[in-house]
């Protein structure tokens, strides 16, 4: 009877070798699949993190900026459609001629302060702007960002000053 050592030294048969190669190939393929999924998962996580981080940063900026939009009580009531991709607001810091614009562009979500300073959030290129309405008055804006994976992030920000609603215009 051959000892184990002797068998090992004799080598493998062709079938054994084929099976070994097959198992190795299968293993390699599974490792590739796992690796690929892991890589993709990391990339998705990175994109998601970038999206959430930019949306959170933008949320903070919007809250501060819209707080600085102070319509005097006599200003004409604001009119914004239910869902738009571009808005320009007057009365930045209470000054009628100073404006704050925001828009969704191909390059991302852009906030333009007084036609000079602007900031672009590159990962936030998709979404819409909707008015927040309280008792017939537009009191602020709700900016909704939609990621490539269709995740939504809502930024709700209120104006610092709201005009008196002219009831006759509504009744």
């Amino acid at each position: 009877m051959k000892s184990k050592r002797q068998r090992f030294e004799e080598g493998f048969t062709l079938i054994e070798a084929v099976i070994a190669v097959f198992i190795l190939s299968l293993g390699s393929y599974l490792i590739y699949l796992g690796g690929h999924r892991l890589y993709k998962g990391f990339n998705d996580l990175k994109d998601r993190n970038l999206f959430i981080t930019e949306a959170a940063q933008c949320n903070n900026l919007l809250k501060t900026s819209l707080n600085d939009i102070r319509f005097p009580y006599w200003a004409p009531s604001l009119s914004i459609n239910s869902s738009v991709d571009e808005v320009t607001l007057q009365y930045l810091d209470g000054d009628k001629d100073s404006t704050l614009s925001m828009s969704f562009t191909e390059n991302g979500f852009q906030i333009l302060i007084d036609e000079e300073n602007f900031i672009i959030y590159k990962t936030l290129s998709n979404g819409y702007i909707a008015p927040i309405i309280n008792d017939k008055t537009i009191t602020g804006l709700n900016v909704v960002f939609i990621s490539e994976k269709e995740n939504e992030y809502e930024c709700k920000a209120l104006f610092g000053g709201i005009p008196i609603v002219n009831m006759d215009d509504y009744e």
Partner: protein, 361 residues
């Protein structure tokens, strides 16, 4: 021999690879813990802000609701239930103030006569500035809500803090014609029609007629819906809450050769009555000793406050809410309508609601 072994072992050091890995591992755990603690601190502080935000909003809403529940909507005085509520809500940790914003001089529309012919100019202007200069500046610029920056260096610090306000409705009977026209254009965007509006106001003043709240349509036509309530005929200031110095000056004004008979007596009566109770619209004629319902005193002084400021300070946070009352179009808030005061429709609107952490400023 033992000594030699110890020295050798000491020289070899004790930092083996295992020790190094353990130290590295422990470091990672400690860094992780520190990060967790820092984050949880941020989280707690964030939660505390939210709590203050919600609580201050709740207090503001309670105050506004209390104003709406007042049984005498034609008069706002210190005996209204809202003041008792404000007092009860004030604690060691929460400081609440309620301020009448409209019983002051609004430089956006006040006429030169009343400021020049009384000592109001001394109360409001910074040294070297006058009403004539203000009028010129006003006609070159537009109406502004920001008095400090809108009228740079015109007013004294005390003037801005106690006697001036940009929050009050433009009274069609006493406001400056140009300011009224300016407001008309802002509201209607119709510059050509504004001249006709202005000439009707001038005509009414020449004829010494008074326009009432429900007659605005006769003057403004179809634009009335757009200019009301921004231009109206309700009394501008509330005798219950107007600063004493302003009250005294306004009572001493000659109202176009129609001076009050006993301004000092009227002043003392108001101060005494407002300290202990509420002054009704029907008492105004006797307090001013004026029987003529067209007298301009009824456009300057009444019993209503139109704009309120509520501030709520708690922890390091502060909420400032400005509330406007929309005057009932069918009511004049003057002695002529005193009998029908039970039918007044009261509408309040928040026109500014700011919340901020004072540490962030």
């Amino acid at each position: 021999m033992i000594m030699n072994k110890r020295i050798k072992s000491f020289e070899e050091g004790f930092g083996t690879a295992y020790t190094f890995i353990i130290i590295l591992f422990a470091s990672i755990i400690f860094i992780g813990l520190a990060y967790l603690i820092i984050n949880s601190r941020n989280h707690i502080s964030f939660d505390s802000n939210i709590e203050s935000e919600v609580l201050s909003q709740d207090i503001a809403e309670q105050i506004i609701n209390s104003m709406l529940e007042d049984n005498t909507p034609e008069s706002d005085s210190l005996i209204d239930p809202v003041w008792a509520l404000v007092s009860s809500l004030n604690t060691e940790t929460v400081a609440i103030t309620l301020t009448d914003l409209s019983s002051r001089i609004n430089p956006n529309f006040f006429r030169d006569e009343i400021v020049d012919e009384t000592n109001i100019s001394k109360l409001i202007f910074a040294d070297g500035h006058s009403m004539a200069e203000l009028e010129q500046y006003r006609s070159d610029n537009t109406i502004t809500a920001d008095l400090q920056n809108g009228y740079p260096e015109f007013f004294s610090e005390d003037g801005i803090e106690f006697y001036l306000s940009s929050y009050s409705y433009f009274n069609i009977n006493i406001a400056d014609e140009l300011a009224l026209t300016d407001m008309y254009v802002i509201r209607t965007e119709n510059e050509s029609a504004s001249e006709s509006f202005r000439s009707k106001i001038r005509q009414s003043r020449t004829n010494k007629t008074i326009i009432y709240n429900n007659e605005i349509e006769n003057i403004a036509g179809s634009a009335a819906g757009k200019i009301y309530p921004f231009i109206n005929a309700v009394p501008v200031m509330n005798i219950h809450l107007i600063p004493e110095e302003l009250l005294s000056e306004i009572l001493s004004y000659d109202f176009g050769d129609d001076k009050l008979k006993y301004p000092e007596k009227s002043f003392n009566q108001i101060i005494q009555k407002r300290t202990n109770g509420e002054i009704g619209i029907d008492e105004l004629e006797s307090i001013f000793s004026v029987k003529d319902e067209k007298h301009l005193i009824f456009d300057y002084l009444g019993t209503k406050t139109w704009f309120w400021e509520i501030t709520i300070s708690l922890d390091d946070c502060k909420r400032t809410v400005i509330v406007a009352e929309l005057p009932d179009k069918e009511y004049s808030y003057k002695p002529r309508d005193a009998a029908s005061k039970g039918n007044i429709k009261r509408t309040l609107q928040i026109i500014s609601n700011l919340f901020y952490n004072e540490q962030d400023l």
